[in-house]
């Protein structure tokens, strides 16, 4: 069976085509294309501009995906799209595209929960069977474990997502959004050495990130590191200022922010592992690409006698293939989204989905 997946809940619009062989062997990725809406440094992406970007790109991407996959429309079994959660306007533009294709091609629709898409793709790629899942992205931060046909949320952020915290700090420092603010923070953090004191807010299996962001933003302002800076003048990033009055550099701030928030994430993941008695961790979502986070998680898991599964940017960062994967799994259990219900929603919790395809 073949499914087309359309994703566009944030600033990426992606189309993927997945093939599930009839004999039940490993699913094959036939196509996975994506285009990212990149804003200038210091700016975030606004819903209406992002939606306009998605509308402009979605048809091109669908054509490209069909070409890459070398399949024709008649081979396709269903069209899967992101129902939520995410930003309203970008979600709508992709839902419209999905409905249009459904009517045009005469194929059935499957509305997919974005978070479940991430989890199912992560499981398919890494082969992790029943892991504790850390889902970290620009809009979501959740620790999830599967239990009786639901992906249950054991811990989550109480305010902003970890990716949002990183993105917004990147804006404060006017760090480039290309390819992604988080990636550029990670590169800068590699040059950082000094750890500045930041709030560390873990409440059981939940965390809070807004206080960390407020504190590091205030430090950036205090040391005059916010706003635009000269690319060529890297004195603000290098450690040469170490002697004078212990003033942190931009790199030190990125380093401290990463160390602090990733420690919080690893801590709640470890608590969830201890709670459910699992030895496997799967990291999904855009922030899951971060190598420092993967490294820290690896050390934690090793000390517990467990393992970490992570994927690369093709599958970590929002993509269409994960929507196709989760959608096709649901489709095979008989799940359909009738045209009149093929809407989208900004609020759609991971645990609302009945995971019929697992025992």
């Amino acid at each position: 069976m073949i499914a087309v997946g359309i994703e566009g809940s944030a600033n990426k619009v992606g189309v993927g085509i997945i093939f599930h062989p009839e004999d039940g062997s490993t699913p094959q990725v036939l196509a996975n294309v994506r285009h990212t809406y990149v804003t200038p440094p210091g700016e975030g992406f606004l819903p209406k501009d992002t939606a306009r970007h998605h509308r402009a790109w979605v048809v091109k991407l669908v054509k490209q995906a069909l070409q890459d996959a070398r399949v024709s429309v008649k081979d396709v079994d269903c069209i899967c799209y992101t129902k939520g959660p995410g930003m309203g306007a970008p979600l709508q533009s992709c839902a419209i595209a999905a409905r249009m294709l459904s009517l045009l091609w005469g194929k059935e629709l499957v509305g997919v929960n974005h978070c479940v898409g991430h989890i199912e793709m992560g499981r398919a790629i890494t082969g992790a069977t029943n892991p504790v899942v850390l889902y970290v992205s620009g809009g979501n931060t959740q620790v999830i474990a599967y239990s009786s046909q639901r992906y249950r949320i054991f811990g989550e952020t109480l305010d902003i997502a970890v990716g949002n915290c990183l993105d917004r700090f990147a804006r404060t420092l006017h760090i480039s959004n290309d390819p992604a603010p988080g990636y550029n923070i990670e590169q800068l953090a590699k040059k950082g050495k000094r750890l500045v004191d930041l709030p560390y807010t873990v409440k059981g299996m939940d965390i809070s990130m807004s206080g960390v962001l407020a504190a590091i933003d205030a430090l950036a302002v205090q040391y005059g590191l916010n706003g635009e800076w000269d690319e060529k003048d890297d004195s603000a990033d290098s450690a040469q200022g170490e002697a004078d009055d212990g003033k942190p550099t931009r790199a030190d701030l990125c380093f401290s922010l990463q160390e602090t928030v990733y420690s919080m994430l690893v801590e709640i993941t470890e608590r969830a592992m201890a709670h459910v008695g699992s030895k496997e961790v799967l990291i999904v979502g855009g922030v899951g690409c971060n190598e420092r986070l993967q490294e820290m998680m690896g050390i934690m898991a090793r000390d517990r006698g467990g393992t970490v599964h992570a994927t690369d940017e093709r599958y970590c960062i929002d993509n269409g293939i994960m929507i196709a994967q989760a959608g096709l799994m649901a489709y095979k259990t008989g799940f359909r989204t009738p045209l009149k219900d093929a809407t989208c929603t900004q609020r759609f919790r991971t645990d609302e989905v009945l995971v019929k395809w697992r025992d």
């Binding site: 560390y200 470890e270 609020r347």
Partner: protein
């Protein structure tokens, strides 16, 4: 495949093994007789390892040893700051609660630095032994185990007439023709004139439920005393409450029924903090409510008893419970429908 878990080496003065075995034969006999048994690892939580050991005297003073090993994934500066902060927080809360007469394990000793270097016998690696707390050993089962045992016992005893109460309720409903179900059921219970419907079992069941409700009210009262003393637990679950059995068990009682008597002792203050804010207290209760619901779905309906016990336990409880209603409505990306 079962791999035996190797806990990290213990910080001095604690040892996994008898340390003096390789000494000269002359001293061996004396050391082995005087060396106390090593601590026994009970659980490996996310943050700490819990051991059973003793304080001063191996036979008269059993003690709980909680070690917070350093976390190598964290930056060492951050690790030291967190470990120190948390173990001191825990020690201070315990000391305060003992002083206030709240039922918690007494604090015997604490090492908050945890910077003693120990050598891992298996790998030869050097690492920090970790900060530790030595506390009074509390006898008894955790409430989670007690409630689960009670749920099983209830299922075994009343499985046969599990359907009868609802059918009877329907009968009564039809008879009286008005009022919500619970009222009707109370009416049936109150009159008890349905002996031919096996009401003996029903009365029994009612009595058992009352015993559970009483335990839940005592849990609420224990949390109330904690809050009145100005401490927030931070991780209230039924695994962090021990039911310490009453010292003298009444003879004849407890035949085939789960013992629900005794004192509710609060344990594990690893996430505790000091606060008298309604908000913090309400969140504490909310954590317990959520944990109770997910751990004991069958008994969840009785959770209101915990709140009743809490309400009666100290002045100011009422405003906390009001705040709890607001806290319940929060949560990210919850459906806003209804």
């Amino acid at each position: 495949m079962i791999e035996e878990y190797q806990p990290p080496p213990l910080p001095p003065p604690f040892h996994h093994h008898h340390q003096h075995r390789t000494q000269s034969p002359a001293t061996t006999t004396t050391t082995t007789t005087t060396t106390p048994p090593p601590p026994i690892l009970l659980t490996q939580g996310a943050e700490a390892h819990l051991y059973k050991t003793h304080y001063l005297n191996a036979t008269t003073h059993p003690a709980a040893l909680k070690i917070r090993p350093s976390k190598p994934y964290r930056h060492p500066v951050l690790d030291r700051r967190l470990t120190r902060q948390r173990i001191l927080q825990e020690a201070r809360c315990l000391a305060k609660l003992v002083r206030e007469g709240v039922a918690v394990p007494a604090l015997y000793a604490v090492d908050w630095e945890g910077q003693t270097v120990v050598v891992d016998a298996a790998t030869g690696e050097e690492r920090y032994g970790g900060a530790w707390l030595l506390m009074e050993w509390v006898e008894g089962d955790v409430v989670r185990v007690v409630v689960q045992a009670w749920e099983r016992a209830m299922l075994a005893r009343f499985a046969a007439d599990d359907r009868s109460p609802s059918s009877r309720r329907r009968q009564a409903d039809g008879g009286s023709g008005s009022g919500p179900g619970s009222e009707v059921q109370m009416e049936v219970d109150g009159h008890g004139d349905h002996s031919d419907h096996g009401d003996n079992g029903h009365v029994e069941r009612k009595r058992e439920e009352e015993r559970m409700k009483d335990l839940l009210r005592r849990i609420g009262a224990a949390v109330g005393r904690l809050h009145a003393a100005g401490v927030i637990h931070g991780d209230l679950t039924t695994s962090n409450l021990i039911l310490r059995p009453a010292s003298s068990k009444k003879e004849g009682e407890g035949e085939g029924e789960v013992d629900l008597e005794g004192e509710v002792v609060l344990i594990d203050f690893g996430l505790a903090s000091q606060s008298v804010q309604d908000e913090d207290r309400a969140v504490d209760l909310y954590v317990l409510e959520r944990a109770f619901g997910s751990t004991h779905p069958r008994t969840e309906a009785f959770f209101a008893e915990v709140l009743d016990g809490y309400r009666a336990s100290y002045r100011g409880a009422a405003s906390v419970l009001k705040r709890l209603e607001e806290v319940r409505l929060r949560g990210r990306k919850k459906s806003m429908l209804g």
